[in-house]
Amino acid sequence: MLEARSWPLRNIGTALRGPLIAILLGFLAAAVLILLIGKDPLEAAGALWRGAFGTPNNMAGTLALATPLIFSALAFAVAFRGSMFNAGVEGQLIIGAFLSAYVGFTFDGLPAIVHLPLMLAAGALGGALWALLPAIWRVGLGANEIVTSLMMNFIAIALTDYLVLYPFRLPGQSGSAIRTESISPSADLPSLWPPYNVTVALPLGILCVVIAWYVLRRSVVGYEVRMVGSAPRFAKTAGIPPGRHMVGVMMVSGALAGLGGAAQVGGVFNAFVSPFATGLGFNGVLVALLVGNAPLGIPFAAVFIGALQSGAIGMELTTSISRYLVAALTATIIIFVSARQFSGRRLPWQTVARVRSRQPQVEAEVPADRRDT
């Protein structure tokens, strides 16, 4: 019955109900806040809409902001489906971005048809390697991947900061935003909508989404990964090696995050800049959660969040309502979305079991040879 349940549009109404209620409640809360400071919420909403979609320039801005979110959200969702909580998307994205920028400015004179894939591959490789460490620590030692991947973010930020400030610094710069030298034109992602920053990374992201959906839903590997994620004991009994799948899914997740970083380098900055991508990874987590980690929903949620961010700039200009309101709004929506009470009743003690599963787990993966004694 896998075939019948995997039809993507089935139950879309029920799937959308939770997020839509959450979005509505979030906007209501923001409206109340705007009323409290003595401004007109409807005017703010109009300004937000025009800032996101009002002109071709704004519309392109929305799509450009949504593009990296598709990658980082998909990265989180893929890992989540395979029972890994990848809190390190941000760091993987940054390492991927640096490696792709390195390939971008080091190799000169390559034809674009070679250089572009090489740059994207470098980004994916960097992200995958940065995700590999927490994955093997988890599988090999049982060290909680949430904590280690979260910590790896800040190591990635400090490491790339060092690289940009010292070995790879473009001479003659000062101030707070430091960059490497520019990538060569052959590594520049072509724009689909000149002169705007809407590059081929957007369809590439959507392609990744479709592939991820297909692999997770229709392939044997995807079935096994989902089984490891939803019923780990059953998977083990059925002869599926959970460790190998967890490492694999984490590397795919890191590679997707790294691709997102490469897309930013090749499409937006044309160099590695520091600070890079503040919040892209965490915003990706929010995008994925908005659609319950369903890959096919991610592009829509990414455009929604991208539109909010792009619209916030316009709203600030025309109504002098601070753009930070939108960050608070996004956070409120996610808090409402994650309140599972909307989708069914639970017994109080089930809270306990769930909370407990987030504890540091030392004895989760008992090696087979030890368990038998």
């Binding site: 987590v285 409120t332 996610i334 994650s338």
Partner: protein, 306 residues
């Protein structure tokens, strides 16, 4: 070495907000919840403290208001995580974003688009004269902000609460084996709510110390990862107050060393990494099955010494 010694006094100052927030994190960690929202609580605490401080001029009102606001925020998060079954890490990320967005939004409304708000209210220093007699480091330690002393005094107090009081016992029971706690008649939800409340109150002190004790201002996203470092200290010290305090002090001194190095133009990034690298290292070392590797007899795992 000279840099390290000179960083000790400032290190205690920079460590104090991290220490206070980490002490709060001990409660939620012991009650079985990964709480990465320490960052958000701290930021809200700093904001409320500065706004109330600059409006009333009273530093004590400012601290009290911060404690009330952060306790409410923590209880709100507890409601979503415990009663509405939200994922603690996800809600934590959202609370951090909410705190950053809301405080920046309100700051810009108050200051007409400004990036910071100054206050004249500041926490008093307290001199402990007998400390000045200690050779070498005495002068550096003797005069510190009052919340530094409060933070240090809270370390044994919290250790005592966890080890000796029925609240502490219930908290550990809930964190380590909730099913057993339920069958022993412990109200799991109430215990976890109390842990969240205490965590919020201590993070409020952390924010107040940062804003009123060290800087006398609030600026957008001024915590800048200190809450995450506090969370790292909780993990590093396995939620044991003494070890957590040690970790917070080490991380604070690292921060102060980084500031000194930056002043003389040395690369600071590898020092900034220290808290995260150490925390991962401790996690991994704790996870290695040493007994099996060293062929020691396997003891029953109690997990009590976590």
């Amino acid at each position: 070495m000279e840099i390290l010694l000179a960083a000790l006094g400032p290190g205690l100052r920079t460590a104090s907000p991290i220490l206070l927030a980490a002490l709060g994190g001990i409660f939620t960690q012991r009650a079985g919840v990964f709480n990465i929202a320490l960052e958000g609580y701290m930021l809200v605490g700093a904001f409320v403290a500065v706004v109330v401080g600059s409006a009333t001029g009273s530093v004590w009102l400012a601290v009290a208001a911060a404690v009330v606001a952060c306790t409410l925020l923590a209880l709100l998060m507890a409601f979503v995580v415990l009663s509405l079954r939200g994922d603690a890490v996800v809600v934590g990320i959202a609370v951090n974003l909410l705190a950053a967005g809301l405080t920046a939004f309100l700051l810009q409304q108050i200051t007409d688009g400004g990036a910071f708000l100054r206050t004249t209210a500041s926490l008093p220093n307290v001199d402990l004269p007998f400390l000045a007699d200690i050779p070498l480091v005495g002068d550096l330690l003797a005069s510190q902000g009052i919340l530094v002393w409060v933070a240090l005094a809270l370390v044994p107090v919290i250790a005592w609460v966890l080890a000796r009081t029925s609240l502490g016992l219930r908290m550990r029971a809930v964190g380590e084996n909730p099913e057993a706690a339920v069958s022993a008649g412990v109200n799991v939800l109430r215990t976890q709510y109390i842990a969240f409340g205490l965590c919020g109150a201590l993070c409020a002190l952390a924010g107040a110390q940062l804003a009123l004790g060290l800087l006398s201002l609030f600026s957008i996203n001024m915590t800048a990862g200190r809450g995450i470092i506090a969370f790292a200290a909780v993990i590093f010290g396995a939620a044991n107050p003494r070890w957590v305090a040690l970790a917070a002090l080490v991380f604070g001194v690292a921060d102060a060393v980084a500031n000194r190095m930056q002043a003389v133009g040395l690369p600071v990034q590898f020092v900034l990494m220290v808290p995260y690298v150490l925390t991962i290292a401790v996690l991994l070392i704790a996870a290695v099955p040493w007994r099996r590797l060293l062929r020691l007899p396997i003891r029953a795992q109690t997990g009590a010494e976590a």
